[in-house]
């Protein structure tokens, strides 16, 4: 469905935001994970045809989207990380405007989408008065206007409260049944339960692309739990990667990322996805 071949983006002579990324993506939810500045947003912007790659090719159903951007735009829904709304325009008018820009002729679809994101009661309210969560939901409704085959969503849960995050995650998971949903985030919990594939980016490079189970499998045996005395904890902090430390009485309960037994009494434990990614990151760092 979507193929990226050696995609590179440079700014000026010295800044490489995305370096030689190759990916092949099929319908489902894909989590694009990386720290701030890893190149996620630039990659998403290239897929959304907002910016052209400096090198490489992006193919959508075999068509080069750099040469023919409208081939993907007609089947694309895009929700950027930061966006606002026009002043003095209601949510319904905002939707009508984007529907007109996308050539969506069915007015009932706007109503259905506002219902889907639970904003139908607020349709006539000025969109500029919406809370962060409501604005995100309006944004996703806008992205779905043209019933896209690809949904590109950049940091979708930034600034949302826990309830909104859960609602948003479930919505994206539902959409991922028959569409390609690319979610960029640096918060692993946003995608760990809904993504079928994770693409890990670091310093502009794609360092891994695998299922969450595969990533967890690789980290097994590298994450440990231990209960140590406070003075021992101070030593372990300098010799291992402590993922979590919880003081209880005179002792400290630890979770540690380490390729071998970090201390006496440590037990291997089942890593969370976030711990697995951190363990992988530390392993790459140490290998380098």
């Amino acid at each position: 469905m979507l193929e990226l071949h050696n995609v590179t983006k440079t700014f000026g002579k010295h800044v490489t935001a995305v370096a030689d990324v190759s990916l092949r993506l099929e319908p489902g939810v894909v989590g694009l994970i990386g720290h701030n500045g890893a190149g996620k947003t630039t990659l998403m912007q290239m897929i959304a045809t907002l910016t052209k790659p400096s090198g490489g090719r992006i193919l959508f159903d075999g068509t080069d989207v750099v040469a023919k951007p409208d081939a993907i735009r007609n089947r694309l829904g895009y929700l950027p990380q930061d966006f606002g709304v026009y002043r003095d325009v209601t949510a319904l008018e905002f939707m009508r405007y984007f529907a007109a820009l996308k050539g969506v002729r069915d007015p009932a679809r706007i109503r259905r989408l506002l219902e889907l994101v639970n904003l139908h009661d607020q349709a006539h309210r000025m969109a500029s008065t919406f809370s962060g969560g409501m604005l995100r939901r309006l944004g996703i409704a806008q992205a779905l206007l043209n019933d896209p085959d690809i949904l590109v969503v950049d940091e979708p849960t930034a600034g949302l409260d826990p309830e909104e995050r859960l609602r948003f995650r479930n919505l994206l998971a539902d959409l991922g049944f028959d569409k390609l949903v690319i979610i960029s985030t640096h918060i692993v919990s946003d995608v760990e339960n809904i993504a079928g594939q994770l693409a890990i980016m670091r310093s502009g490079r794609l360092v891994a692309c695998a299922t969450p189970d595969a990533i967890l499998g690789r980290a097994r045996g590298q994450v440990w739990s231990a209960s140590v005395a406070a003075d021992e904890y101070e030593i372990l902090r300098t010799t291992t990667h402590v993922l979590q430390a919880l003081r209880q009485g005179g002792r400290v309960n630890l979770r540690i990322a380490h390729p071998t037994l970090p201390c006496a009494g440590a037990q291997p434990c089942e890593p969370s996805l976030e711990e697995a990614l951190m363990a992988q990151r530390y392993a790459v760092k140490e290998a380098a």
Binding site: T49, D70, P80, F83, R87, E93, R96, A100, K102, G139
Partner: protein, 517 residues
Amino acid sequence: MSATLHVIRTLALLEARVRLRRLSTLVTLLAVVALSWMMISDPADGLTLIAVSGARVLYTSSALALGSAALATLVLALAGFYLLRGRVAEDLRSGAGSVIGASGNGGALFVVGRWCGGVLYLAALTGAFMATVLLCHAVRGDGPIEPLVYLQTYVLVLGPMILFTAGCATLFDAWAPLMGKKGDVLYLFVWVGQMALLPVVAEGLHPAAIPADFTGTSAVIAALAAHVDVKEGLMLGIANFDPHKAALALPTWVWTPSIAGTRCLAALLALVPLLLALPLFHRFSPDRVKPGKARARRSPLAVVDGWLRPLARLVEPLFGLAARVPGIAGQALADVALTLTAAPTAIALLLAVQVPALVLDVQALAPFALACVAYWGILVSDLSTRDGDAALAGMGAAVPGGSTRRYWRQFLASLVLGLLFTGVAILHLAEADPVRAGALFCGVFALAAFASFSGRTSGTPRTFLALFLFMLYVSVNVSRGAWADIVGFHGNATLASSLAWAGLGVLAVLGGRIKPS
């Protein structure tokens, strides 16, 4: 002590910068400049700035300084207050108020800092105004430009006004009961009260009242009276004069020590509002001011738009139509619909202008069309920058056509809106005066192109707005020459000048495309 001064300096500079960046500052400055140039009339037109008993007072530095300062002080005393006002409400809305309230600095320091910022801001506006008057002097003046004469007069006339206006704005923001509309209305009465002092002083009834006139207009009259007999009849601003009467010349230094002294006294009295603000400052205490009460700043036009909101329903069908029209035409129609939806006043005016455009005679049609162009220009000034301003640049570029087509569709939308406002007038004019009709069409085309170009290159609507208002001012006030008659207001435009403007428009709209996305 030096730390205190440092804090005040930082606060004052920040306040001045925040206010100078506002669009309202630019509009006010342009309005004051336009007013001053209008007041300092060209004597060749039979009008002058100051006339005494029908005799013209020559445009020397002292005369121009006195006349322009007297007029500017009236405008700035009113507009200045409303420009300065409302920063505390912004603090409350943004949450900065509680941070300020919880800071270690004293309330007096904050109030003085704000007041200094206000003074600095109004002084900067005055400085810009003085520069334009000096320019006007270079064009129309009768004697050499003497900057020190201007400086002396501006300090004496405008100085106390600036101190008083900034003091009132600070007091009305610092004291909770005056923070809302009550304060706005009250200040209007204060300003009107200042105006009421003018005849009292001019008729010599209460000279002791001069120090209480912070605007300084009574002092200007007193200064004039010291050198010419003003009892027979004094006219200030767009005054008729008898060209057969010998022109009068004011001395270089018009201020007598006693009048200068009263202005210094006025400057001291102007500090009273500031002194009152110090103990009355609410310090953002939730007991005295509530964030919920701090409403967002809304322009009068936005308020009218709110009232006319139901009219937005009239353009709803346009969105549906836009979705059915393929390609750029449909998208441009969507932009037209969005512009009208967001500004229902435009819908009301569109409905209102069509019949007069059809029935007015050609002479009346020219100013009518100009008024339509003026409103339209303001309406579309932000059309090419609104996606960026609303942080929707990415979302809008991901639709079919992308950012390249966005530029063209927004230009088309500006043009279509221009033709909606002036189309009937153009058709009406085409019958009686085709050249004038062509000028109006070409002018609208060129202005739409300049709006797109400047929005694209500068990323802000202010660039176009400033240039547009200036061009409009020039086209109204320069009554000779085809090139200045951009939209055919004076009937001086020729086919060549209209085509030249259209050509410049083509270059501008193409030039905007050169800038990469």
